[in-house]
Amino acid sequence: MKKSKGDLLQGTLDMLVLKALALEPMHGWGITERIEQWSENVLKPGQGTLYPALYRLERQKLIRSEWRITSNNRRARYYALTPAGRRHLAAELDNWKRMSRAINLVLEAKTV
């Protein structure tokens, strides 16, 4: 298996899912598509981890789900951000930005 690409940092999948849902409610498939697309096919969340993540987030009341009919007339479970999820996402993003800046600072530090 290709190992280097597409593997996500522990804990970041939840954030990506929330981010993907920030725009509009989506089904599981849509979420993977959206993440792949945005990451220019670098990030490919394994479905084996996506659905557990969705159930986990739902249990934490960060997202909620409902069954809807898709544009091509199929039944699918759509996930949407809850207000708590939106707040959580904002906090996570702040955190991420601070962390990634810090990491960048370290990595780009001039070595003597």
Binding site: Q47, T49, Y51, R77
Partner: protein, 891 residues
Amino acid sequence: MENPIEWWRRFAALFRRREVEGGLEEEIAFHIEQQIEKNLRQGMAPEAARRDALLRFGGVERTREATRDEYRPVLLDGVARDIRYGVRALRRAPGFALTSVLTLGLGIGAAVCVFSIVNGVLLKPLPYPDADRIVRVLQVSEDGGVTENVSEPNFRDWQAETRSFSAMAEIAQGLVSVYGSVEPNRATMTLVSREFFNVMQVRPIVGRTFAPDELHEGAVPTAIVSDAYARRLFGGARSALGQTLNSGSTAFTIIGVMPPGFDYPSRTEIWMPRELEPEQTSRTAHNFRAVARLAAGVTLEQAQREISTVSRALKAKYGEDTWMSDATVERVQDRMTRNVRPTLYLLIAAAALLFIITCANVSNLLLARAATRQRELAVRLAIGAGRMHIVRQLLCESLVLCVAGGFVGVLIAYGSVHGLIAIDPGNLPRVNEIVVDWAVLAFAFAVSVLSAFLLGAVTTLRIGRRDLRSSFTESQRTMAGGRQSQRVRDGLVVAQIALTLVLLTGAGLLTRSFLQLLAVDTGFNTDDALVLDIALAPPANDGERSRNTYFRERLLEELQSLPGVTAVGLINDFPLGGRWYANGLFIEMTHPDEIRSPEDFDRLGNVPERVGSAGYRSASAGYFRAMGIPLIRGRLFEPGDGPDAAHVALISESLARTKWPNQDPIGRFIQFGNMDGDVRGLRVIGIVGDVREISPEAIPSPIIYTHYRQRRNAPTQFSVVVRGPRPGNIAPAAQRVVRDIDPTVPVAIRTVKQAMEQSMAGRRFSLVLLGVFATAALLLATLGIYGVISYLVTQRTREIGIRMALGANRADVLRMIIGKGAMLAGIGGGIGLVAALAFTRVLQGMLFGVRATDPVAFAGVLVLVSAAVLLASYVPARRASRVAPSMTLRD
């Protein structure tokens, strides 16, 4: 976890598993289809598109599992899985499961059934507000005896001088005949004093309680009736309101109807104000009972102290004028259930024994099963299942069994509670409150869980201690299950036999008592006779008095002329009736006019050899013939003994023997006017046989019979005995006779045999229950022995084969196997005998005519148990003796 709601949601999700997974299933399918479509759009061949989609998804099953894990807490899921596993395992062994569930159902059912009785009678508070604060105030007599009844002046002093009670009322109950716009009927009427409804704190559902201007002598009579009575007479509470009924010469208007179920005291149908009648002034006329409500903040003990102080002061003040030396308080509910408590405790003990026996029985089944599953369990241990996990799983399995057993038990209890009430629990109070309700269901659940832990404990001890890994090394040739396990199973059988013996002995002793009781010579003939209970209105004047006399005479005459009737007689208090049997002191006189005044009576009353004590009865001559009470000496009443002739009396044999030993009582004079208000002396003209009046258990009491036609206050409430073959056929005609003479007089007819049975109903009730329990126990113990012995035979088939090949014959094998059963029975029987001796001593109070160590009962039980053991071991032993050596050696 964070909050209970979250917990509950997860818990509920366990049972919604299918739904959750269904959703997930569909979601995954959708996802894969979307991927396939995308692949197709990108130009893949259909087959490749599909394969790629599945590949990308990365393991449908793994996803499913991982998602589920997100959804459920791990431990609960484990339990749920174990329970499911348990159900599956039991489904694979339906015979075992069915036997266990039915056995457990029997034990749990018995326990639940007894609990529903105990709950309804003893535990549930009476249906009145703060019912535990309602008490009876009881008089303590000089001899220390506690009596229900009190005299009115003493009651009034209690009321005036105590502070512990917020309300106190007197009550007096009696049977009355009611007529008017309705079918004549007999009703239970209670006279209640002013405060009664404040004591009970129950108000009528329609109408009102008595108004102050209805509470004095000469007021317009009003009444409050029970809901049941209102329904019976008028079809409903509302239509009863304002109706007028007659009792005797009194017409009363119904002003209120009590709520359904309210019938205090004991099945009252009509309540009327006690204040309508004149106040009583005698401190020795004990005509009322007292009921009171504890004042707020007062404890039973405080009330007890106060009433005792007040009563002792009253005694000091009035001396011989009152017979009350002290007083005591007791909660109404405790008082009500006092007589049945020993019986109920007995039933609880019996049900507990049966329950333990069933648990022991099923434990044995489980152990046998565990033995056959050793390999399975060993394999599971070997592939990494934790010991705890296996224990948990076994517990879950017994839990499944026990919950199913509990379910069966509730069904059994539900069915049998109605059956029980149908077999007539005799004087059991609050029978209509015996139902299978939530408390009973909760109890059933608790008992099921308890049994699960008992069963689990036994099996786990075995499994837990034993090193299962050694099962691998054990070959089939060794005795599977091991010696130790066999010992536990033997122990369980021994326990079952011992407990069964205890139960059987109890049942045996009660049966013996019952038979003794049936064989008791009550002094009268219970076959082929009817008894009519009649209540006339107490006469208010001479006109009514002569109308009553006319009624009695006509009644006796016309009943006598009915075809088939051989004898007819009248008595004021019929035996076995549970009625009040009046008794008092009489004085022997030297001549009929020796006593002319109360002073004479008091003076002679202080001369011990002049005084005697006897029951007072008013009877006709025909009564003795109709009841088959023999005339021992002298003569019975004769037509010449009219009201104006010298008054005569018959005495019972025991009175003659105790009062006039070695003398002739006939011709002696007796003054007994204190009983019927007629001061004319009585001459003894004959001695009649003794009668066990109150019940067959009581020793015959001394009785003086007066002639109902002579005394001034002839009885208005009386019974008429009609003897004739096939009394059931005479009953309708007898009923017609009464109606033809006076349609307003209600009559209750039963056979003397029924009256006799009724008087023993309570005893029969506990006997039937204990008998059923004991039979079930014997059955289970027999099955238990059978199970152990046949298991043994199965395990030792090879050994038996070898023995027979080496020359043992069938008899040897039979002896060996039956010997094993006999040994178990011997040990169990020995322990059981000792336990039974201890246990049956508790029964002493309920026995009649046998001692708690009655050898007949013990011997009978031993024979029964031995027979059962022999039978239970013979069947498998026979099978063992048929073993063909070649067969066993071959496999």
